[in-house]
């Protein structure tokens, strides 16, 4: 069970982590600035196992891998959005952060709601309600299952 942090449509990577923090030496030094412009208390309030829920085109804009990386470093279990921008989507899978497409969830929940996610079934549960999610293509699910692209490379 984790808490939902809900964001709008077209959240760009500058909002997830702003440019001025990208050249900090490590992701751990950047993570406390995640979503700073949209919700300055986010990094303080988020707990490992929580979820980000968003509308369409989540993670549009820059290719900065720091965007999914700070969310993963803060313990976000998965990002569930109506759709994702492609570079963010790919980066998230590559680092082993589940990104899940669910059309209905965004309009049905609010920040602070508790939800459960079964990654294997692709089912989100919020209270009494259940939502089914779009499955990842097998190739990408394979990368995720191995713990990301580098983990899969090390196994080759």
């Amino acid at each position: 069970m984790g808490k939902i942090f809900k964001f709008h449509t077209d959240v760009d990577t500058d909002q997830i982590i702003a440019s001025q923090y990208l050249l900090y030496p490590t992701v751990d030094e950047m993570k406390s600035y995640a979503f700073e412009s949209l919700d300055p208390s986010f990094a303080e309030q988020v707990r490992p196992g929580d979820f980000v829920v968003a509308g369409e085109n989540f993670g549009c804009g820059s290719s900065r891998e720091q965007a999914p990386a700070v969310l993963k470093a803060l313990g976000i279990k998965a990002v569930i959005a109506q759709s994702f921008a492609r570079i963010f989507y790919r980066n998230a899978i590559n680092i082993g952060l589940p990104v899940i497409i669910c059309r209905e969830l965004h309009d049905a929940v609010e920040t602070g709601d508790n939800m459960e996610l079964s990654l294997t079934d692709g089912i989100v549960t919020v209270g009494e309600r259940q939502f089914s999610c779009t499955k990842l293509p097998a190739y990408m699910q394979g990368i995720l299952d191995q713990g990301g692209l580098i983990a899969s490379l090390n196994k080759e």
Partner: protein, 416 residues
């Protein structure tokens, strides 16, 4: 059934005769560009996460320090040092302070027919030379650096058939913003945007780079233009040969086709805080500005500086406006010096900076304070993109930006 340009380049890189959109293929990557925005993380992963760290083909790598250059803090300096030292140790082609990565790549490296990964979203600019450029994160970059290969999902293509010619005083920036305004910020998500038709021949290389460069703002995976005589002349001038020349087959399958009559395009701006919030520049007439920026990989080329300098000749930058002019590369800077453009800018009261990403990146030069308004030829106008979260960015052509810098409010060049 024929193939699109995107499909042909991927098929060649995958070593197969035919590919179709929706398939996933393993491809050989021709070139790998990375800049100081993420390379330090790539290096850390290389050093600590890999079981067998090695570089498949060091000649494919190009590393460019362009985002925060020269360093603006001890942290940035440490990040740059890490990149510089690693590049030297491994013999990686390395540029520092020479200009914005995509401009450097166009001037020195990109060849038609190549498949190029860049750890920067605007890598789609390389389509101006008929190359498949796409932005990736540092994990994808590292994987390709180690294996020489990667996986790609073959994209569907949106085809933009161009006719006519841009009217006097209307620029490539107006064209691509108009297109993005029409299809929306995710209108080309996961797709390739291909530009063709007789109108393409009227666009200069600088125009073409500006058009392709901005396609990621519609979500595009890549942008492509057939390398014609204009593109080949650009290559020849720089002593390069194409890898291969591709054009889409007549019976290629497109996800969508659009007809754009260039003669109908008018000056536009993208309003805060999204690149698809496009409106006629006239509709924003009179909005006060505090800063103007002429530069970036989109509009920092000689052609753009000429437009700005011609408008500034005999005029002054408004006393309440900082006008930052930033050539996209040192090659551009030197040409601008020869033509006297830099002198014109300085005499008019502009601030001319070293070749780098500058204001477009909102981190080290010309950062905005709370409540300030910028008009910019940069690539993005996201919330806080140029500094304080409560600042605003309008995007427009070199002409609209310069005219606004002179007047102190958003206006178009025809009002001067």
């Amino acid at each position: 059934m024929g193939m699109t340009m995107a499909e042909k380049i991927i098929a060649a890189a995958a070593g197969v005769d035919k590919v179709r959109s929706g398939e996933i293929h393993t491809v050989e990557v021709d070139r790998l560009m990375s800049n100081d925005g993420t390379t330090h993380l790539t290096i850390d992963m290389y050093n600590t996460k890999l079981k067998h760290p090695h570089i498949a083909d060091v000649d494919k790598l190009v590393w460019i320090v362009d985002h925060n250059v020269p360093a603006d803090s001890p942290k940035t300096a440490a990040t740059h040092k890490k990149m510089r030292d690693f590049a030297k140790e491994h013999g990686i082609t390395f540029y520092e302070g020479k200009g914005v990565c995509h401009q450097i790549m166009m001037e020195n490296h990109v060849r038609p027919g190549e498949l190029i990964f860049g750890a920067d979203s605007h890598t789609c600019a390389y389509g101006a030379l008929g190359a498949f450029g796409t932005g990736v994160g540092c994990t994808d970059y590292l994987y390709a650096m180690v294996t020489g290969t990667s996986w790609v999902l073959v994209p569907e293509t949106l085809r933009f058939y161009l006719t006519g010619r841009l009217p006097e005083g209307v620029y490539a920036r107006d064209l691509i913003l108009t297109i993005i305004g029409n299809i929306g910020a995710n209108g080309a998500n996961y797709k390739a945007m291909e530009f063709c038709g007789p109108g393409l021949a009227t666009l200069t290389m600088s125009d073409r780079i500006a058009v392709c460069n901005l396609c990621v703002e519609a979500g595009a995976k890549t942008a492509l233009m057939e390398a014609d005589e204009v593109a080949l002349a650009y290559l020849r001038e720089r002593g390069r040969e194409p890898k291969a020349l591709y054009a889409s087959d007549e019976d290629a399958v497109y996800a969508e086709e659009y007809h754009v009559d260039l003669s109908t395009i008018t000056p536009v701006v993208a309003k805060p805080h999204f690149v698809d919030q496009v409106a006629g520049a006239k509709s924003c007439e009179g909005i006060p500005i505090h800063q103007a920026f002429l530069g970036s990989c989109n509009n920092g080329r000689l052609e753009d500086l000429r437009v700005g300098a011609a408008l500034l000749k005999g005029r002054k930058v408004h006393p309440m406006v900082r006008f930052l002019v930033v050539p996209a590369s040192q090659e551009v800077y030197q040409e601008a010096l020869k033509e006297g453009l830099i002198q014109t800018f300085i005499q008019a009261g502009a601030i001319v900076m070293n070749a780098n990403c500058s204001v477009c990146w909102g981190s080290c030069q010309g950062v905005l304070g709370q409540g300030e308004v910028l008009i910019s030829t940069g690539t993005r106008n996201f919330k806080g993109r140029a500094g304080h979260p409560d600042s605003s960015v309008y995007l427009g052509s070199a002409a609209t930006v310069t005219a606004s810098a002179i007047k102190g409010y958003i206006t178009t060049a025809d009002t001067l």
